[in-house]
Amino acid sequence: MNLNYLSRTLGYKVLQEPEHDAVVSQAYTSDLLSDVMGNAPEDSVLITVQGHKNTVAVASLAGMKAIILCSNRSAPDEMLDAAAQEGIAVFATRDSQFTVSYKVARGLGLV
């Protein structure tokens, strides 16, 4: 799934632009960062409500490509600065984590 799908098709707000033609093959939904760290697959998108700098650190260290902040959570500037530095795309939406998860699953061709 091209990350542009999240903004173009699902209408999610882009807080930090994805790298050109960045694609993900999987997704992981969690708010526990050590759960993300231990179990999230590489080249995936993180579906979470944790909007802070450490989320970016975890996503980057786990080799993830993007973060979707659900339920209208906001991202502090320092989080977006870190995301820009680490090359992690950040999107935001009013959708809940459940809604985002099934929409992304459809985009990934999993359902």
Binding site: S34, M37, E42, K53, N54, A57
Partner: protein
């Protein structure tokens, strides 16, 4: 005669004291004020007067050179000092044309150029004079020292010190072009702002040397879990990353408070984290188990009240299946 009662001191005497405690200041400062000698900071350019110089001439000299005290000398020996206050008194009382020797202060406190700066600081604190004449071991007048000379001298030295520290930092950074080496990162308690910095650098260093990405990912996970554990649970500690030709060893070391039951701490889901930490997404009781899971070798020892040391070893050519 209330003017005559004013002791020899500056009009801004309240600003004289140097706010450095010569006993309990930080070690770097103490080391500095004991190492620096008065001769290193004093002013060597002297404007002096002879015994027959009039107070009027001294007043003109003060104005011309923007100074507030003039030593009166005979050859290289100091006999007295005429200060701005003496001049003001002379103007007020009408004896400005008298020779210096008649009104100068003869009761002097004189410092020696080999004394440490700390001496001068405590003398300024004790006596409230604005300047002290400085002599060498042959009793010759060689300079004058003011509080301003001391603060300037200290600033110059502190600048040098900071510059040295910064250069040391760049030196260690530039060494990082080789894979092999050792880096230490100080980790502060509850500083989530900096959390992940050590892990990020470890990841980048491995990446720039072409280590396979599944291995990098495992090293990054181990480093991050150990790092975040220090942030959450320790009183502060350090991450030591030791890069070898064939493996990386990541050690987390702290000086307290220690883990009461290590076996329990290694159990998935067991946590002692506070609700605040959990609200940040940490403290799920998965840190140590995660770190162990991705490591080829993992050791942890802890003593309550003393501290904890955990080490993760990861080989670049994995003999363990990729944990992701």
């Amino acid at each position: 005669m209330f003017i005559a009662n004013i002791p020899l001191r500056g009009y801004n005497a309240g600003m004289q004291t140097i706010p450095i405690n010569t006993y309990t200041s930080p070690t770097v400062i103490l080391e500095l004020i004991y190492r620096l000698k008065i001769k290193h900071v004093m002013c060597r350019k002297l404007y002096t007067a002879g015994t027959n110089t009039t107070l009027r001439e001294i007043q003109l000299l003060m104005r011309e050179k923007s100074i507030t005290g003039v030593p009166v000398v005979e050859g290289k020996r100091i006999l007295g000092i005429v200060s701005m206050d003496d001049i003001i008194c002379a103007l007020d009382q009408g004896y400005i044309n008298d020779p210096a020797s008649k009104w100068m202060s003869r009761n002097l406190i004189i410092l020696e150029d080999d004394m440490p700066v700390s001496f001068a600081i405590s003398y300024f604190d004790k006596h409230k004079y604005r300047r002290f004449p400085v002599i060498n071991k042959d009793k010759e007048l060689v300079g004058m020292i003011t509080t301003r000379d001391i603060t300037t001298g200290l600033l110059v030295e502190l600048n040098r010190e900071v510059d040295r520290i910064e250069r040391m930092k760049t030196d260690t950074q530039s060494e990082d072009t080789r894979l092999e080496g050792l880096r230490r990162y100080e980790i502060m308690k509850h500083n989530f702002e900096k959390a992940g910095l050590a892990s990020m650098e470890i990841k980048k260093r491995l990446k720039s040397h072409g280590i396979p990405s599944p291995v990098i990912r495992r090293a990054a996970i181990a480093a991050y879990e150990l790092e975040i554990n220090l942030v959450i649970h320790s009183d502060g500690g350090e991450i030591i990353s030791h890069f070898f030709e064939d493996r990386i060893e990541i050690t987390a070391r702290d000086s307290g408070p220690g883990i009461a039951d290590v076996e329990l701490a290694m159990t998935e889901g067991y946590t002692t984290a506070t609700p605040w930490i959990r609200s940040l997404g940490f403290g799920a009781g998965m840190g140590l188990p995660n770190a162990k899971k991705v490591s080829d070798e993992f050791t942890i020892t802890s003593h309550p009240h003393k501290g904890t040391e955990a080490t993760s070893i990861i080989w670049y050519q994995p003999n363990k299946e990729d944990a992701s």
